[in-house]
Symmetry: C2
Subunit: 454 residues, 2 copies
């Protein structure tokens, strides 16, 4: 029984270029619009917020973009990440399916987020930026950027969604350890925060609100830039290192996935693993299903509308062409904080519209049950966000069993749950429940939306 | 600057045998004694507590002992562990020393403990054992054994030191997730626990007390065995996989350590990394210093006495020839719960007596400071136990700088601190302090000891 469990690349084999799906989309994404003029935004509109190199990447059509050596040197601290054969889970499910997971939880921050955090901090450093502002939900992104900013000597301010700030004090502490300042959002440090607090002093916050605060803070400070952990094209670009490694690792395993699965909050986790496989689909006609899994309490891909919408709650960002529930939609307070976002990245949205990827919404109790099964079978305790992928994997593995068919499934185990133990505590204590929105509730954020339709 | 950061072995290169230092010691360790007869204990004395295969390993003089295939297959879930060049820490310290760390925190339980937990659970399973009892301090050992017992279908009861049970609820939850029952020790489930509670109802517990409880519980249940996470020879044997991998990885790096450093609680962490290097010292006359680092609040190696003593507080275990502060010594309530143990393994003690290894005691504030420096420089947040090794590394790296000498240092980063964040919180909040015992206090546990002197 000398079966290989893990597939790892040498440091020399870590990809030297990111993959840019904009080079290969049958229909390019529509341009983001300036919220005032409703005209496509140009580099000058974005310059107050982002360094020029990231703005270039945002609109680039080059298929391959070099990863700077300094970024690769930091990647080496944890990359390549292992691709692991889930023998334990296969046995537990008694399935003919072969299940592999790409484990991004080995990074110092414990998730896939440092892949882009390090790149973003690097480009900011190169252009002389001294301070970055950002938002974070469960804290995965904030801690990744704190780690990255520390590497390149940049100050960081994090606006952390209040409900997570209270639920996950240790993620805040981790950010502090790496030198970041963390605020519980909404704050009274910004006009956006004050506006929300005036309407509801007990607002639990949301990613959309925290984005408004971080964007406003950077826009008003000439020495500061803003950094976003998902949604934008350059973020998805940096995450492609996950799928590029997985392609090589699948080759080592002598296998190839029929289905690629990942959770979706803004889209970078899903895109990171799946876009290099979508490339195989477009380029070589490979028959692969790529499935984004979202929480049923925030189902923009399965229940939202494809139209222009703001990336934040207050309405400061450009208008993005995306699947959205409306920028004022407040998701149920589930524990997968990283997935509580009203919209999906423009790139993923366009691909979904073109049927190159698919989507599934799952309730949280099914996800926690899947997470505990995984911890028992494979040892690793997954982050609540990651359990969404596992729940979909279990559905597909059970389907394979019913159909009596072998099938190869690859999913992104995007992070560990070591800082999310309070969620598991609540789950074990029976305190969690599913949230069944009515269609009316789900469309409440879309009904009065006065942003352009597509 | 294309410098290699991590050294990893393929699954085929994971050691197939453990290294047993009993084959090579210039002076063999003295035999453990029966507490009643004061005669050397035989296999029959130990049979109520341990499966026969582990009893054989306890007294074996074979240099190499095969690692069963089933154990190697579980090892593959996280082994080999990386040996990492600490470029970041070297830079921070501006030292000419080359620093490497062996990172055991990648295991599912987050420490080196599963190396023996998996082996012990396996041998128990092979001999038909259905239930195991054990103790745990900070919870590293308990969670490792919970993970291992889950793998082999064995029930587990964990007696967790009360102070840690309260400080680290998430480690308890992790054990529960893997199916273990966890009790806050002292309990009223055992006579040992009742005795302690009668003397002090508010006893914070200690490893020694928890061992008494777990041993008593197993001894009274014919279907149960007991498992210990450190101190015993077979435990140190299983941990040798760490140093054996590190030897190969040092060869990959084209380097060899001048100093090997690891924290010491009972001794398995230190032995695991260092014994294969002590072997090089004995066999090939290599000039290597092997340094065990203990907390100043529990300094058995540097301030204790080499004599026979009990392994537990109540006095149920065989008498072990070891450096000890006396089995009734109560260490200060520092946060490195895994190091709060009155004695050191007999093998490490004998080697210390024979000057083949050395010891250093460090205060906890220096350790936490070292841990935060490491987290900033290398990304990984170390467990409080692991920071003891880092503090010693920093001292040696600073010495190298003063002396203007290059020097190669290898240390065991035995675990991450994700479940120890409350300790870091207390440290950042200024709530931690050093404990300066007087000599009188340190010898209080030895003064009335009526166990045999050596």
């Amino acid at each position: 029984m000398d079966k290989q469990k893990k597939y790892l690349l040498s440091e020399k084999e870590i990809p030297t270029q990111w993959y840019n799906i904009q080079a290969d989309m049958p229909n390019p994404m529509l341009p983001p619009l300036h919220p005032g003029t409703k005209q496509p935004v140009g580099p000058d509109d974005l310059a107050p917020l982002f360094p020029m190199e990231l703005i270039k990447q945002e609109v680039s059509k080059d298929r391959w973009i070099d990863i700077p050596e300094e970024v690769r040197n930091v990647y080496k601290e944890w990359r390549s990440t292992p691709m692991v054969r889930a023998y334990g889970l296969e046995k537990l499910l008694d399935t003919p399916a072969k299940i592999y997971y790409k484990y991004e939880g080995v990074s110092p921050a414990g998730s896939h987020k440092p892949n882009t955090a390090v790149a973003q901090a690097y480009y900011n450093m190169k252009e002389g930026v001294k301070k970055i502002t950002t938002e974070t939900g469960a804290g995965q992104w904030g801690s990744a950027l704190a780690y990255a900013c520390q590497k390149f000597g940049i100050d960081l301010e994090v606006f952390m969604v209040k409900i997570s700030y209270n639920q996950k004090p240790y993620r805040k502490l981790l950010m502090n350890t790496w030198g970041a300042q963390v605020f519980s959002s909404p704050t009274d440090l910004t006009d956006s925060g004050k506006k929300i607090l005036a309407e509801d002093p007990n607002s639990p916050g949301s990613l959309g609100i925290a984005i408004s605060e971080a964007v406003e803070r950077a826009a008003k400070d000439p020495a500061a830039k803003y950094s976003l952990g998902s949604v934008l094209n350059h973020v998805l670009l940096h995450q492609s290192v996950i799928g590029l490694e997985a392609l090589k690792q699948m080759e080592m395993a002598g296998d190839f996935p029929d289905i690629v699965i990942a959770p979706l909050g803004g889209g970078s986790n899903f895109a990171g693993l799946s876009f290099p496989f979508v490339h195989e689909k477009i380029k070589n006609g490979k028959n692969i299903r790529c499935m984004a899994v979202e929480p049923a309490s925030c189902p923009k891909l399965t229940k939202g509308e494809f139209r222009y919408d703001f990336g934040d709650t207050v309405g400061l960002t450009p208008l993005i062409p995306m699947f959205t529930l409306g920028h004022t939609f407040v998701p149920a307070p589930i524990h997968a904080g990283g997935l509580r976002y009203h919209g999906a990245s423009a790139l993923v949205s366009q691909l979904l519209k073109d049927n190159l990827v698919e989507a599934l919404a799952v309730q949280q109790l099914e996800c926690f049950d899947a997470g505990v099964k995984f911890a028992k079978a494979e040892g690793i305790l997954p982050a609540p966000e990651a359990t969404h992928g596992i729940a979909a994997v279990i559905r597909e593995a059970n389907k394979a069993k019913e159909e009596g068919k072998s099938k190869t499934i690859l999913f992104n185990l995007c992070g560990h749950g070591h800082f999310d133990m309070s969620s598991y505590q609540d789950y074990f204590d029976g305190k969690l429940q599913d949230h069944h929105f009515t269609d009316e509730e789900l469309h409440s954020g879309l009904n009065n939306l006065n942003t352009p339709k597509i």
